[in-house]
Amino acid sequence: MNKLIEGRVFKFGDNINSDIIIPGRYLIHIEPDKLAAHAFEVLGDDYPGRLRGFEILAAGRNFGCGSAREQAATALIGLGFKAVVAASFARTFYRNAINAGLPIAECPELVEAVSEGDSVSIDLIAGEIRSGDAVYGVPRLPESVRRILEAGGLAGYLKAHYRA
């Protein structure tokens, strides 16, 4: 996990479920690029194309609700997102993002304040997010979670720590 994550924001509303992020028919794939090619396509023909070029996904309440499909997180990585900030997350997505190595943070104040295209920088070690002149505090990650993100996800963590 990079200490500082910087990029431009794409913004979604509340209750974006994991069927929207990646429809069930594509769960035969686990590769980020194959998943990204179909991410959010139920929202219209301009998706996922219009998500390219943004690094930070900002969303409202309950992001990633519904199915526990891990590929929802993998698809976002495939689209080039480096972090997700939401007003709140569904618990399955929260775990899957960490396990896939995708940094995430709950920060309703930031989501309220930013618009599409705004530049944001996230420092999860320090527990703060900056946008323009504003600084927002976010909860620091529990030790167990931080170690998984630093290994690039749970598979990387296992590879480094598991003795067969």
């Binding site: 069927d19 139920v42 749970l154």
Partner: protein, 418 residues
């Protein structure tokens, strides 16, 4: 200080004498379930370079989504899962003939009160119908539990749902849950445990408890629990895989974060409208909506009782000619029982299309919908594009409302038919 059921289960499985909400523990699940996603966990294990499992007897595999295989890719993936089960001696392996993982595992006696069960499916909450803490995780984390036997878990606060009164005719557990989801919202219980209490619970069948703990996921819960009682013990009698039955209950001084009361007498048939489960209306508000397809299936509502409710409504009648009525029994055992009692005879004679047991159309396997089509489903999700075209729409209801609507070709109040 007393503990709730979820707190007791997380304390036991993490070796602590007590735990409290917010605490993070390393818990050792009693069972880790994976379904059609199994090959993905196998892939992770191979990438990690691991060859030894923590405990093969704590692993259950059920091939339920897209089963039997629909494409060569599905076939190859299922083959990989089968070979893994064989190589590592996974005894709790169920192939494409068995049905939906959750129902199969409960029927087979692999779920008991007080168990901690994790699996690659959000609706693992259903194990709470037998007093087990079930919760969904991703496939990488399943591989991790296969190897290490444990995972980190945060102890959830517990909401107490207090049920009083009896359902009026035509109203079922599904309607109760749609009412609750509408009232509390899709994130109304995020990260929480929910316990169902109150005088109505003693009368609630195990099948209804399965529907309740399954649908609770749509409020964002971590787990949902029906405290075990005489009904639970009766269901598990002779079923429990060599284990003795032992109940579990919240302590009298356990702390609940809040209590939500529901009077079952006041409920009416409910429908979740496109394309979020929290978007609920009484059936009267959407009655008359034209339907192309009715789906009687899913882990929420394709149990024997559900099929029997639909059959009582359809007995000796013929469904509307403009509707495709797809019936997917939840498991092979359910299908056999419904064959034996004539329930399947009635459903198919009415014009229904019977498919093999499994997830079926709820997982996009058959029953896919075209642009502009409308479906009424007994499943637990009506998300955009979940059953086919993004221009199709899904409504959710109880099996009774679904059967009544299959008869008329439009969303209909079952109380006007039964």
């Amino acid at each position: 200080m007393g503990m709730t059921i979820a707190e007791k289960i997380l304390a036991r499985t993490s070796g602590a004498s007590s735990v409290s909400p917010g605490q993070i523990v390393d818990a050792y699940p009693d069972l880790v379930m994976s379904h059609t996603a199994t090959w993905r966990s196998v892939d992770v294990m191979e990438r990690v370079g691991a060859t030894r499992l923590h405990d093969p007897d704590r692993i259950a595999i059920v091939l339920d989504h897209i089963a039997p295989a629909k494409t060569e890719k599905h076939a190859a993936d299922q083959q990989r899962s089968r070979e893994f089960a064989r190589r590592y001696g996974i005894r709790k392996f169920y192939d494409v003939d068995a049905g939906i993982a959750h129902l199969v595992l409960m029927e087979a006696g692999h779920v008991a009160p007080g168990d901690l069960i994790v699996g690659t499916d959000s609706h693992c909450t259903i194990y709470g119908s037998l007093g087990a803490l079930g919760t969904g995780i991703g496939y990488t984390e399943v591989a991790s539990v296969w190897l290490t036997g444990k995972l980190w878990m945060k102890v959830p606060p517990t909401t107490r749902i207090e049920l009083s009164g009896r359902f009026r005719p035509g109203v079922y557990a599904k309607d109760l849950m749609l009412e609750l989801i509408g009232r509390l919202g899709a994130d109304g219980c995020t990260y929480e445990s929910v316990e169902f209490h109150g005088p109505s619970m003693a009368e609630m069948s195990v099948s209804e408890r399965m529907t309740m703990t399954n649908l609770a996921m749509e409020m964002g819960v971590k787990c949902a629990l029906a405290p075990p009682d005489a009904k639970t013990e009766a269901y598990l009698a002779g079923r429990l895989d060599g284990r003795a039955y032992a109940g579990i209950a919240s302590d009298a001084d356990a702390v609940f974060s809040r209590t939500v009361g529901v009077d079952l007498r006041a409920l009416e048939p409910m429908v979740a409208c496109p394309s979020q489960v929290e978007n609920v209306e009484p059936v009267g508000a959407v009655a008359g909506t034209r339907l192309d397809q009715v789906f009687l299936g899913s882990c929420a509502n394709a149990k024997y009782e559900d099929l029997a409710v639909a059959a009582r409504i359809l007995e000796g009648k013929t469904i509307h000619s403009g509707v495709r009525f797809i019936i997917t029994p939840g498991s092979r055992r359910i299908m056999l029982e419904a064959m034996r009692t004539g329930v399947l005879q009635t459903l198919v004679a009415s014009g229904g299309t019977l498919t093999n047991p499994g997830c079926g159309a709820c997982a996009g396997d058959g029953g896919v919908m075209a642009d502009g089509e409308v479906s009424l489903s007994t499943a637990n999700r009506n998300f955009l594009g979940r059953m086919g075209s993004r221009e199709s729409r899904i409504y959710l209801s109880s099996p009774a409302t679904a059967a009544a609507s299959a008869l008329t070709g439009v969303i209909s109040d079952p109380r006007e038919i039964i």
